[in-house]
Symmetry: C2
Subunit: 285 residues, 2 copies
């Protein structure tokens, strides 16, 4: 109630003085989000920001966000000089933030991980799909590796695995399960990395490599893949190869994706060991 | 060879003209990384950057990175005006990048995911550790939930689960396995999210809540947790509760962490269904 009164008072004062404020939308956490759409001079912006911050402070606002598209880079310095810091950036914008209250901030953290996939595609002859890359650490080594790639923002892990196999080899696949995953750190600047080893079933068999990244692609017996010195000498690759061998013999259960809906209505996939709880979930599925 | 000749020629010309260049280190992908340490005027910086870019272009450099700490925000605009774009940002710096060649860039993508954990801590009486939070969507609902939290950059999933349980309840735990995980999208701006449901074994039993985030904490029978209406009415929570029940009866195998070393000597954890491949890995372990 008192917040609302303050708000009205400030607004009336502002109107009386014809003071212009930055355009901002309220967020659901007691903060405001400033969006800059038209070009604005940095000195004018600095003045508007100062007045706006005074108002938001009086209104008891918490986090103030300023999203600056690339074309408004002239405003970054002015905002930082008034106490803003970087929150995150994407190719086309930088997001600045300032926490107004004296309490510790409850601002969400930045994205911390990149996510990658490796795809074991095994046909019913016990052969796996392997590639040689035109660049990277395995270039020119003669090593045959599984197709790998990066999961995009907003992309399902299963969809990324299917897409990478298609891009690298032209093979259509169905996603079966996640066999294992590895978390590693400082993979890129200070960021961490999660790499999901996936099992897929091929729906086509004629290899047609699609990208310039791939030197060659073929089907080889999974035992030949596992017997490569680079696989056997690397504990991680060796484990993963053994898991795949076990899977090919029907003795391993990974995590399968199951589509669910969150309470807010969002579609998501839950990955779990479906074999072990099939009986429990049968009523729900 | 021709690259090297060009390099020498340009360097000699530069020396002859006493032209100052920006300090930059070469990276391992044919690019350079500029670090600004001393305060510099933005007009002086713009001029140095122009000359430096000409040289790097002649040398056939690929990606040019400029890391600008918060206190050098006066230089952001000058770099963007010369064709740089944002790559990523952390609270204390923004990273700008420009790809020089005419070919498609092979610059690494930004971090795309945030990673969270939920911790099922079950004692040998079949009770799980549950909490009520002082804020968030479950505040005041009477719902008892498992402790949850965010995995920090550089932090192991298993360490994050142990840390969050300790912070919220004071209980010491040992990490057992990942029971399931869920990937969802647009959890924060355009970023995606992976949430790992973990099983932990308690090593202490007296609850002492540690943070202001927690209203209350207690041990309840896992059946009582699963019987809560909010759990039963939400497909995702219901699945997870059933998986936990199954686990408590010894009928479920998730992914356990196993420490491995990568070929570059980095310590990482591989998470997999250890039960199903114990016989295969025994020689390696």
């Amino acid at each position: 109630m008192s917040n609302y009164s303050n708000f009205s008072t400030v607004n009336e004062q502002m109107r009386a003085q014809s003071v212009e404020l930055l355009r901002a939308d309220e967020d659901s956490h007691g903060g405001v989000v400033v969006s800059i759409e038209e070009p604005v001079d940095s000195v004018v912006f600095a003045s508007l920001l100062g007045v706006s911050m005074s108002q938001w402070r009086q209104q008891g606002k918490k986090g103030v966000w300023i999203k600056l598209p690339l074309e408004h880079s002239n405003l970054v310095d002015a905002a930082i000089k008034q106490g803003f810091r970087y929150h995150h950036a994407e190719p086309d914008y930088v997001m600045l933030v300032q926490w107004i209250p004296d309490t510790a901030d409850t601002l969400p953290v930045n994205a911390s991980h990149r996510v990658g996939i490796g795809a074991f595609v095994m046909n019913n002859k016990g052969e796996v799909l392997v590639v040689q890359e035109t660049s990277g650490r395995f270039k020119g080594t003669g090593v045959w590796k599984m197709p790998t790639g990066t999961v995009n923002e907003g992309e399902d892990i299963s969809a990324a695995a299917i897409r990478e196999v298609k891009e690298e080899t032209g093979i259509e696949t169905e996603f079966l399960e996640v066999l294992a995953f590895r978390q590693s750190h400082e993979s890129f600047f200070r960021k961490s990395d999660i790499f999901f080893v996936c099992m897929l079933q091929p729906l086509s068999f004629d290899i047609q490599k699609q990208t310039s990244e791939i030197e060659d692609a073929k089907w080889i017996p999974v035992e030949d893949y596992a017997a490569q010195p680079f696989v056997q000498e690397n504990q991680l690759f060796d484990f993963v190869a053994k898991i795949c061998l076990s899977k090919s013999e029907g003795n391993y259960s990974g995590f399968s994706p199951f589509p669910t809906t969150t309470s807010s209505g969002k579609k998501t996939y839950l990955y779990f060991n479906n074999r072990d709880v099939k009986h429990l979930l049968s009523s729900s599925i």
